[in-house]
Subunit: 297 residues, 2 copies
C-alpha cells in the first residue's frame, strides 16, 4: 500500500467502482459498490457511500468521473466544450474538498447540444494506453447511450450519442415487439439473428418502419422467437453504425467498453467492411490516472 | 329500424365499435364497448361480447374488421396479399357463422412482410367516400402503428408500417427522456415544440441520435419541459414523413383516422410542402358497407 498514489473512482448511475492506483498507474486493488449516483440523494449520502468504499485504503487524492458530477449527482461539474484534450478536462475539474475532485463532462454543441459524462475519461484512458489513436481516430463506446467520438491531434473534436441500448431495453420490455419474444434473456445469443438485423439496417430504411419487421418476422415464423431479440439488437446497432459511417469508414476505429458488447459491435462492423477493430476494456482507471497527473495530484 | 341492413363492427385491440347501417350505408345507431380483442380470450368470450353489444338490434348480417381476426382474436382470418381491392378482400372474408363474417387483413411482402388489420377496411371506406382517390393516391393512417398505403387503379399496391405511436409511448413513459418531462399529459399541446421536432427530423440525422436531443434540449433549458413531449412527437412523426416522401411528394395524399392526430400530421406535412391534405375521420363503417355490398350480404 505504501506504493499507492491515487484513488480513482468510476462513479456511474448504477455503480461505484474504486481503484487504488500505484506510482505508474497500476491497479493495486479494486472495490465496488451498488451505490451508483442514481441511487443516492444529497451530498451526505454521496460522502457516506464514498467513505464506505475507500474505508480500508490510505488517505490519498481522489478523482472521480461519471454521473456523480451530474445535476442529480454529488455536485454538478461543468461540461468542457469540444474540442477538448486532457489538459482542458483537468482545468475544469470540480474540487469538492481538500483531496477530492470530479472530472467535468464533455459537451459538443452543433445546434443541438450533445453531452457525455464518464466517457470523456475513458477516452483519455484509451489515448493514454494507445497513443497511436491520438493523431486521428474514431472511438466507439457502446452502451445504453453509445458515444461515437472523433479524435484529432489528441483532442476530442466532436461526438454523437445514440440511444441504442436504451431503445433496445424499452422495446424489448414494453413494446408489442416483446410479445413474440421469450420473456427471459436468451441463454445463447444468436449471431445469425443479430447479423440478419444488421443486414436489414444496411438497406437504409426508416428505423421506425424496420422495427415492425421484428413483429412480422415472428408472426410469419421466418425467424424463430429466440432469435428475435438478437434481430432487434442487430437492427438498432446496424442503424447506429450505418449512420456514423455515412461519410466513409474512419482510418482508425477502436471500441471501448464492456467486452461482450464490444464483440457484438465488432461483428456488426465487419458487415460494413471494418475488420477486427481494436477493443479496449474499461479504460476509466487509465484515464483518471492521466488526468490526475495532468492536474498535478 | 326496419330500414336497417347491416351491423358493421370495428373491432380493434382495445375497443369494439358497432354501427347499425341503413339501406344506403347510413349510420342509424352506434354502440361501443371496451371489450377489445386484446381483452378477450376464447371464442365464447368473443361471442358474448358481440351478443352484448348488438342485443337491442335486429338479427342482420354482421361484418367485422380489425384485431378480432388476428391470431389472438376470435379466429384468425387470413391476410390477403397486395395488390388487393375490395373484391379480393371480400373473397377472403372468414365466415364465422350463418350471419357473421370477419374481413381479412392485408399483407405486403417485399422481402420483409408487412401487415395491417382494420386499416384495409378504412382504406376501402376512404376510396368509397372519395372515388377520386382510387386512381392514384397515398393514404396515411396515423396511429400506434401508422400505415402509409399506395393506391393505384382502385387497389392497394403496397404499404409500410411505422411504429411511430408506439415509440412515442414507450419513450414517453419508460425512457430517460421521460425524466425531464411533465409526468402528465400536457393540457395544451405546443405546436412550437412539435414543429421544432419536425424540423430536426427533416435534417436527415439518425433517429437514435436525434432522440438524445430531447434530453439535452431539456438539460440546457433550450426547450421548456412542457414542450419536450411535443418535440419528441414531432421528431418521430417527422422521421416517418421524411422517409415516406423520399421519392418525392405524391400527387394526392389523404389522412384517415382520429381528427386530432390527423391535424398533427397535416401540420407536419406542411413543413414538407404538402398543404391542407384531405382529412377523413373513421371510415371503417363506409368500408364495411362497401365490402358487405361486394360480398352480396
Amino acid at each position: 500500500m505504501s506504493d499507492a498514489r491515487l484513488i480513482a473512482l468510476d462513479w456511474g448511475s448504477t455503480r461505484l467502482r474504486a481503484f487504488l492506483l500505484g506510482a505508474d498507474g497500476a491497479v493495486l486493488a479494486t472495490r465496488q459498490s451498488e451505490q451508483g449516483a442514481s441511487t443516492l440523494s444529497g451530498a451526505d449520502a454521496f460522502a457516506a457511500a464514498l467513505a464506505a468504499v475507500v474505508a480500508e485504503w490510505p488517505a490519498l487524492p481522489m478523482l472521480a468521473c461519471g454521473m456523480v458530477g451530474s445535476q442529480h449527482g454529488w455536485r454538478e461539474a461543468p461540461y468542457a466544450p469540444c474540442p477538448a484534450d486532457a489538459g482542458a478536462l483537468a482545468r475544469d475539474a470540480l474540487q469538492i474538498d481538500v483531496r477530492f475532485w470530479i472530472v467535468p463532462g464533455l459537451m459538443h454543441d452543433a445546434g443541438q447540444p450533445d453531452v457525455m459524462r464518464g466517457e470523456e475519461t475513458q477516452i483519455v484512458g484509451a489515448l493514454a494506453l494507445h497513443p497511436e489513436l491520438s493523431e486521428q481516430a474514431c472511438l466507439v463506446l457502446p452502451g445504453t447511450h453509445s458515444k461515437w467520438a472523433r479524435i484529432s491531434a489528441g483532442r476530442v473534436t466532436d461526438f454523437a450519442t445514440h440511444m441504442t441500448g436504451e431503445l433496445y431495453a424499452v422495446l424489448r420490455q414494453h413494446s408489442v415487439l416483446a410479445r413474440l419474444m421469450p420473456a427471459d434473456a436468451v441463454a445463447a445469443p444468436s449471431s445469425q439473428g443479430f447479423l440478419a438485423g444488421v443486414d436489414a439496417a444496411r438497406q437504409d430504411g426508416a428505423l421506425g418502419h424496420q422495427l415492425f419487421a421484428v413483429r412480422t418476422l415472428g408472426l410469419f415464423k421466418r425467424l424463430p422467437a429466440e432469435q428475435l431479440p438478437d434481430y432487434l439488437s442487430g437492427l438498432l446497432i446496424g442503424h447506429e453504425i450505418a449512420n456514423e459511417l455515412k461519410a466513409g469508414p474512419p482510418e482508425r476505429l477502436a471500441l471501448v467498453g464492456d467486452p461482450a458488447l464490444c464483440e457484438r459491435y465488432a461483428l456488426a462492423l465487419g458487415r460494413f467492411g471494418i475488420q477486427a477493430p481494436l477493443q479496449l476494456d474499461n479504460t476509466a482507471p487509465a484515464g483518471l490516472w492521466r488526468l490526475a497527473q495532468t492536474m498535478g495530484l
